[in-house]
């Protein structure tokens, strides 16, 4: 499975509809401090079902919605779509939406699904629901810093 496209709108600093192709296997994301690089990681984490607002650097889940700048008003909702491609060429689109009053929805291809279906998609494709594919900024030592039990549950997910 490869991540081939990212579509974002209203998610953190990506207020305008942003669609990027990810054709390659080793992609380097660069840019000045505060430009939005870690926000891209947050997009991906969120779209495949992250439930902890804190893991997304917020207090409540609505904090991922673009909250406005001096010149632009806040957005009413956030949405992220990830386009995956399987080895046989089959494409799968996984998406998530959230609006300010808390209504949220998950999408796989053209169907509305529940969070557990997103997690099912992750299990089937070896995407860690615990998010162990992500090494967050400032937390590269995480693997070493985990408690022995936390490390065990990571291994259980792998097995």
């Amino acid at each position: 499975l490869k991540l081939r496209q990212l579509e974002v709108q209203g998610f953190k600093s990506f207020v305008d509809k942003t669609k990027i192709e990810l054709k390659e296997d080793l992609l380097i994301v660069v840019g000045p401090n505060g430009s939005g690089k870690s926000n891209i990681a947050d997009c991906i984490l969120w779209a495949i079902g992250e439930q902890s607002a804190k893991s997304l650097r917020g207090a409540k889940m609505q904090d991922v919605i673009f909250h406005g700048t001096k010149k632009r008003p806040a957005a009413g909702s956030a949405e992220v779509f990830l386009l995956f491609e399987k080895e046989d060429g089959q494409k799968i689109r996984v998406g998530r939406r959230l609006n300010r009053n808390g209504d949220s929805s998950y999408v796989i291809d053209d169907s509305n699904v529940r969070l557990k279906d997103i997690h099912e998609f992750c299990y089937r494709n070896n995407i860690s629901v615990q998010g162990s594919y992500l090494v967050e900024q400032g937390r590269v030592e995480k693997m070493l810093a985990l408690s022995p039990q936390e490390r065990k549950s990571l291994f259980e997910e792998v097995a």
Binding site: L3, V29, L154
Partner: protein, 156 residues
């Protein structure tokens, strides 16, 4: 399913021990069970000792050493269980130039053949490794845009 966990633990342990010697050009590392009598319940601990050194507590390892040990374990797990992608956010920040050039670069090039890697970095050497660079800008204050530059021909 319990057998799968034991197999996973032993395979990853083997990968970790071997990869560590490559990453640190020697030394010794392995995983160990907190409670060997109870492998299915036991937590997993890490023993990691750079060449020639003695390590009493893992917290004594330096920032760069800890980063390399953590990345080694991450890649050891990937060697056992394929995963589609990884997101690495400024993992090269604590590494010195030699480790970025000789160790991190080689790891990224090797393992990006096994999974897709999205790597956020401020480091020029890391940037030079990519198949493509995605530049994030905020021309309009507070609003992010992405521009991508492909560095290599991508075969169909």
């Amino acid at each position: 399913i319990k057998a799968r966990y034991i197999e996973a633990y032993e395979e990853v342990n083997k990968n970790f021990t071997e990869l560590f010697k490559v990453v640190f050009d020697g030394g010794e590392a392995y995983l160990k069970l907190e409670d060997p009598e109870n492998p299915l319940e036991s937590g997993i601990e890490i023993f990691a000792q750079p060449p020639g050194k003695k390590v009493v507590h893992n917290i004594q390892l330096s920032g760069g050493e800890s980063a390399l040990v953590a990345l080694t374990l991450l890649f050891a797990i990937l060697s056992y269980r394929p995963q589609p992608f990884f997101l690495l956010d400024e993992v090269d920040a604590p590494l010195d130039d030699a480790n970025i050039e000789n160790v991190f670069s080689k790891l990224l090039l090797q393992f990006s053949q096994k999974a897709q890697f999205i790597v956020i970095s401020h480091n020029k050497r890391t940037m030079a490794l990519g198949d493509a660079i995605y530049g994030v800008t905020m021309e309009e204050t507070g609003i992010s845009k992405i521009v991508s530059v492909s560095l290599r021909e991508v075969s169909a």
